[in-house]
Amino acid sequence: MKNISNELRKTILFACTALAVGVTLPSSAATAQVPDLNGVWKWGACEDGTNFGCMILEEDDELLTDRAKAYRDAIDETAQPKYDCAPMSIPHMWTDPYSHQIEQFEDRVVFTYGKDDVVRTAWLENHGHKPPAHNEFLYTGYSVGRYEGDALIVETTHFSFDPQGLNADFKLASSTQKKVTERYTRDGEGLKLTVSTEDQFMLKEPWVYSVRSERDPEPLALPWNCDLGASRQILKLLPSDYPNDAKVTRIPQ
């Protein structure tokens, strides 16, 4: 009886262990595939060897639709929201030479940028997050994320119309139809980001580029605390393209 009891005990112990392993294994396996993206990362460099060139959509870029060019030509520099401390949205934000921070949580990934106090949250799928209403549009869009293999995939839609959404220097706007897909993977000690931007109103085809970042030992220099006066200082040097229109008094003053 004693042996049987021992055998039974062993069997029960084995079964319990197997059950425990059975429960934890999928979780461990899933965890093992989640890349460690946490930390502060420097401004990325283009993988095609163009330094930062791949992140710039040129003034007459062949990807631009006629509509995008027409908007560019119609709007004047002084009307750009950047002179009101408005932040850049993605993908144009990445052309700025600032570091960014990634924080991975169980149900979300938070991106904090070293400029404009921009914080984006990518809501991980299957965690019950409520999506925005179909008519809700946001400056930095609505982002959902998922892990695929060794990558974090973030898809962002629901952007508001952004007069500087593709390039603030060349007045290249983005529409509410902009969709940005980010793919983050580790590349040795570095971080690789591949960005694909679609906007059928403004782009003939997706605009895709890849950048690689190194870790930044410095913390982000935040808060940004954009000063309206400093943001608008250069406006006195910019003549209006529409001199017959009444002079604009910007708000808030």
């Binding site: 950047k82 500087q164 943001s231």
Partner: protein, 129 residues
């Protein structure tokens, strides 16, 4: 601008690499074909985002004083900090020299700085880390 006693320093463009990512585009705003030098008295140093700026009072050949806005283009506090600039780098009343591209709009008194300002005797103000 012609009223100012300005020294064409002839330092050439690209003296120092300036952050090129302004978004507050400087294209067509400054005369980038030449570099001039101003000597003036510091009125205000604004070490703030998005773009720090320096206000210096320059007296022209006719004895009239004008405030010049010295811009560092697209550079923000974090960029200038890494070049050695600090919130107290310039004090009101200091006489300094600064080189750069002048604004194209007549009598707008704007300068896009090229290189670091110096004391009046040419000694450095900014100590690079």
């Amino acid at each position: 601008m012609k009223f100012f006693k300005l020294l064409s320093a002839g330092l050439g463009l690209g003296l120092l690499i300036q952050t090129a990512f302004a978004h507050h585009s400087t294209n067509g705003i400054y005369d980038e074909t030449k570099v001039d030098e101003l000597t003036g008295v510091v009125k205000e140093w604004r070490f703030i985002n998005p773009h720090p700026s320096l206000i210096i009072t320059v007296t022209d050949a006719a004895g009239q004083a004008h405030d010049w806005d010295v811009s560092y283009g697209g550079s923000a506090v974090v960029h200038l900090s890494r070049r050695g600039f600090k919130a107290d780098s310039f004090k009101s009343g200091d006489t300094i020299k600064v080189s750069g591209n002048m604004a194209l709009v007549e009598d707008s008194y704007g300068l896009l700085a090229k290189g670091d300002p110096t004391h009046a005797d040419g000694s450095p103000i900014i100590i690079r880390p």
